[in-house]
């Protein structure tokens, strides 16, 4: 007789009410400063990730505006070379490490548990630790910047310019340590997302009933796990070369600057793919909801996601075509760089088919999705152009590449992100965002973006190299740079209008129902904003679009204890119930561990001994983090003999 029978039971209204109250009580978050610091509710951690990342996006935007002002006219004296180099490096580093990856991780931490029907995220304390490390890294970078120690060798910090001889002072070390902070945060986010998707899905949600955004985050998290170690090695060996005198990249003692480029770009290229893969998941979500029909070609879209992820690891040498590597070797990467357009193409065709055969409502998120099409396709085409070696040798490290990367990153990731923020605003705050303000911000961003970055293609072809703090008059670059500066102003207005929309709607937006957009995924089945325990009563999933296709009388899941934070762990492939698990209680030690780890990392920039002595406090706080407290003990199996009868179930292969 199976342990999880489906029975006919009397489920009265007050039973549901009392269970909800009990759940709200046991999942409540402690108040006060200690409560704030020992947060484990995935919705709060996710929201903090998103808001902090958006603040860094604004800072990065301001830096971009400074650059555009400096380049508006030839031989401008607005920023000197030293300050301009810091500004463009901070812009690149902020946008790539402090905005792009963390904002999608924030969305994952907030929405993956809601979309797979779980009460919380797996390993919540680890997610909290990840957020604190991300915040510490961002604050550390910007404090260094205002102390004139901001990195100034570009967001990929090539050796030997960033090496011991040509980067005096601590600027290059600041960049290397920031990489340590943000990679710890994103690795932690990746593990948390993978475990939640694999083990916390609600019974009935087999792998092929998972929402597309969950697939995108799963694939992105695996990419993070295999890509981040490469930049760990690159930044660690760079800082070792600078502080301890090792010779990884010293060509006179056996090292090689090209080794740094290989190590960095093995991470670098998957990094840009793990930025726009979650956005492809968002696109499927937005298009499905606003075409009011299930997505066409679910299997094709999942295959395309997995294909893009794997192929992303085989392209990195196309960043090094100008480094003089043998032609036959680089031809492999030309072929792969061109063939990766196939999965992206298939995705675009599936979305067009969904729009074609759906009932389209042109809400603001749908507009951002259509903006994605226009901009990302142009970015993809220039991508194919730079994949060909002879052409790349002409446009590599010029403004043509700057235009390409902004088309694929802003078009590919930021537009779907703004669409998703508008789409999920009711779920975050319980209030509807204003449609009119949304329209204004979309058109400001769309026109401003194209006015800024389309002229850059021509600038690149006219021979303007990348990362120049100024340029000589008389080369035909003046009007194009002026247009770009005007476009940047429009984009700034667009970003400002989004902030206004958020603030205004927070106070005066109309109240949002559970499912204002009539979407199909599970996060719209609970109240907005969701209660601490996310769902009650939880119904077994019956189809790929539960809110549209599930029969109303799906069995309710009962038996998960409501007197403590308990979650149902299910099997990977078919989400069959496996065992009940006591989710960790709120705990302040992850925050304190992050503080001591920050002190250790910053100290290690000044003396290698800081790593030895600095690692003792985090070790002690880790013990406190994992030490079982009274509330952490699993009373069903304490003392251990009580667990004996459950033993053969617990160890079966399942």
């Amino acid at each position: 007789m199976s342990l999880t029978p489906v029975v006919q039971l009397e489920v009265t209204e007050d039973h549901i009410a009392s269970e909800s109250r009990a759940l709200s009580h046991s999942w409540a978050q402690p108040r006060g400063v200690m409560g704030f610091l020992s947060e484990v509710d995935h919705k709060r951690i996710g929201l903090r990730f998103i808001i902090t990342a958006l603040v860094f996006f604004a800072l990065g935007g301001v830096l971009a505006a400074l650059m555009r002002i400096q380049l508006a006219v030839p031989e401008n004296q607005f920023l000197g070379p030293d300050l301009y180099n810091q500004v463009f490096t901070m812009h690149g580093t902020t946008m790539m490490f402090l905005f792009a990856v963390p904002v999608f991780e924030g969305l994952a931490i907030y929405f993956i548990p809601l979309m797979v029907g779980a009460r919380t995220i797996a390993l919540p304390r680890l997610a909290a630790f990840g957020y604190w490390m991300f915040l510490a890294g961002g604050v550390f970078l910007y404090v260094s910047f205002f102390l004139n120690i901001g990195p100034d060798n570009g967001w990929f910090s090539y050796v030997p310019l960033a090496g011991p001889e040509f980067a005096p002072g601590k600027r290059s070390d600041t960049w290397a340590q920031l990489i340590t902070f943000t990679e710890v945060a994103s690795l932690v986010g990746a593990i948390v997302t993978i475990v939640t998707i694999f083990k916390y899905r609600r019974p009935g949600m087999t792998l092929d009933r998972m929402p597309m955004f969950a697939w995108a985050e799963l694939v992105t998290s695996f990419m993070i796990i295999f890509a981040m170690p490469a930049v760990m090695l690159a930044s660690t060996s760079l800082i070792l070369d600078r502080l301890v005198g090792t010779h990884f990249f010293n060509q006179a003692q056996g090292g090689d600057p090209i080794l740094y480029q290989h190590l960095f770009w093995f991470f670098g290229h998957p990094e840009v793919y793990l930025i726009f893969l979650p956005a492809q998941g968002l696109m499927s979500t937005l298009i499905q909801t606003f075409s009011s029909r299930p997505i066409v070609g679910y299997v094709a879209l999942v295959t395309a996601l997995v294909a893009t992820a794997f192929m992303g690891f085989g392209l990195w040498v196309h960043h090094m075509f100008a480094a003089g590597l043998p032609e036959i070797g680089t031809s492999f990467f030309t072929a792969a760089s061109m063939m990766i357009a196939i999965p992206s193409g298939v995705q675009i065709f599936c979305w067009i088919a969904t729009i074609w055969s759906g009932k389209v409502r042109l809400e603001v998120p749908m507009l951002f999705a259509l903006g994605y099409f226009v901009i990302f396709i142009l970015g993809g085409m220039t991508g194919i152009m730079v994949a060909s070696v002879p052409l790349d040798l002409q446009v590599h490290d010029t403004y043509f590449v700057v235009a390409h990367l902004h088309y694929v990153l802003i078009g590919g990731a930021v537009f779907p992100l703004f669409g998703a923020l508008h789409y999920w605003f009711p779920k975050f705050t319980g209030r509807m965002p204003s449609h009119r303000l949304g329209l204004i911000s979309f058109w400001l961003l769309f026109i401003g973006f194209n006015l800024t970055f389309f002229p850059m293609h021509q600038l690149g072809l006219n021979g303007m190299p990348r990362r120049v703090y100024t340029y000589l008059p008389g080369l035909g670059w003046e009007t194009l740079n002026l247009a770009a500066a005007a476009g940047a102003a429009l984009m700034a207005l667009g970003a400002l209008s989004i902030v206004i929309n958020a603030i205004v709607s927070l106070r005066r937006g109309e109240m949002a129902s559970r499912n204002p957009w009539n979407a199909a995924t599970l996060e719209w089945s609970t109240s907005s904003p969701p209660p601490p325990h996310n769902f009650y009563p939880e119904r077994v999933i019956g189809s790929r679009d539960p809110l549209w296709d599930d029969p109303p009388d799906q069995p309710i899941i009962e038996g998960i204890r409501s007197d403590r934070r308990e979650v149902l762990v299910t099997r990977l492939l078919d989400a069959e119930p496996d065992h009940r698990y006591h989710s960790p209680e709120p705990n302040v030690w992850p925050f304190i561990t992050a503080v001591f780890t920050t002190i250790m990392l910053i100290g290690s920039m000044y003396t290698p001994w800081a790593v030895v002595w600095g690692s003792i406090p985090p070790f002690i706080t880790l013990i406190a983090w994992f030490w079982p407290r009274r509330t952490d003990i699993n009373d069903e199996s304490y003392p251990v003999e009580k667990a004996r009868p459950q033993l053969n179930e617990a160890t079966g292969p399942a």
């Binding site: 009397e10 083990k199 796990i225 295999f226 010779h247 090292g255 038996g559 199996s637 304490y638």
Partner: protein, 199 residues
């Protein structure tokens, strides 16, 4: 009115092996550090392949302590496996015994590892060969030290903290991380000690 209910209350409150959350978290860490070791090995081979003579002008590290460490590491797999099996039988005294034995083994090969560092015949700042050798050995030693401390804390937990089934799951999953530390040492041993001599 009656509704259909999926009653999960009789499910166990813990699980071993790949059904437990901790196994997946450990697997995540193993994948990350495995990739890091893989890339370190590729960098080693990249630097080795650039120069005709490797190690360039230095004697390769002596085999003595490296081999002793490898033997102890392989031997330490035994107490670990016994600790894991005891944990999965919820046999606390035996688990406690074998986990302490594996801590002692780990401390032993930590000592031989320290001696190993003295026989490398090269400093980390003499040339790229020295740098990559110290980096490889240093990274693995960092994993060994963290694993000793981690297992040590777990062992003291088994002594003084209240023990429930989840602690037993911790002991079992700690073993799987330990196997990774052992498994990652073997290719490094081949690269550092045998590659300069054979190839």
């Amino acid at each position: 009115m009656t509704t259909r209910v999926l009653d999960v209350s009789r499910l166990p409150s813990f699980a071993f092996g790949h059904r437990s959350i901790l196994w997946w978290a450990t697997m995540g860490m193993i994948l990350i550090e495995g990739t890091a070791f893989g890339l370190l090995a590729v960098s080693y081979i990249y630097l080795k392949w650039r120069v005709p003579e490797w190690p360039p002008g230095f004697a390769p590290p002596d085999l003595v302590w490296g081999t002793v460490t490898t033997i102890i590491i392989l031997a330490s797999a035994l107490p670990n496996e016994l600790a894991r099996r005891a944990a999965e039988r919820l046999d606390v005294p035996r688990a406690r015994l074998w986990i302490w034995v594996s801590v002692i083994f780990a401390i032993a090969f930590c000592v031989t590892r320290a001696l190993e560092f003295t026989t490398l015949n090269v400093w980390w700042d003499s040339n790229a060969y020295g740098s990559i050798v110290w980096f490889l050995l240093g990274t693995h030693t960092a994993h060994v030290v963290t694993d000793i401390l981690d297992t040590g804390v777990l062992s003291t937990m088994l002594l003084i903290a209240p023990i429930d089934a989840n602690r037993m799951v911790d002991v079992a999953e700690n073993a799987s991380y330990y196997y990774f530390v052992i498994a990652s040492w073997l290719p490094i041993y081949v690269l550092l000690y045998l590659a300069p001599r054979l190839v």
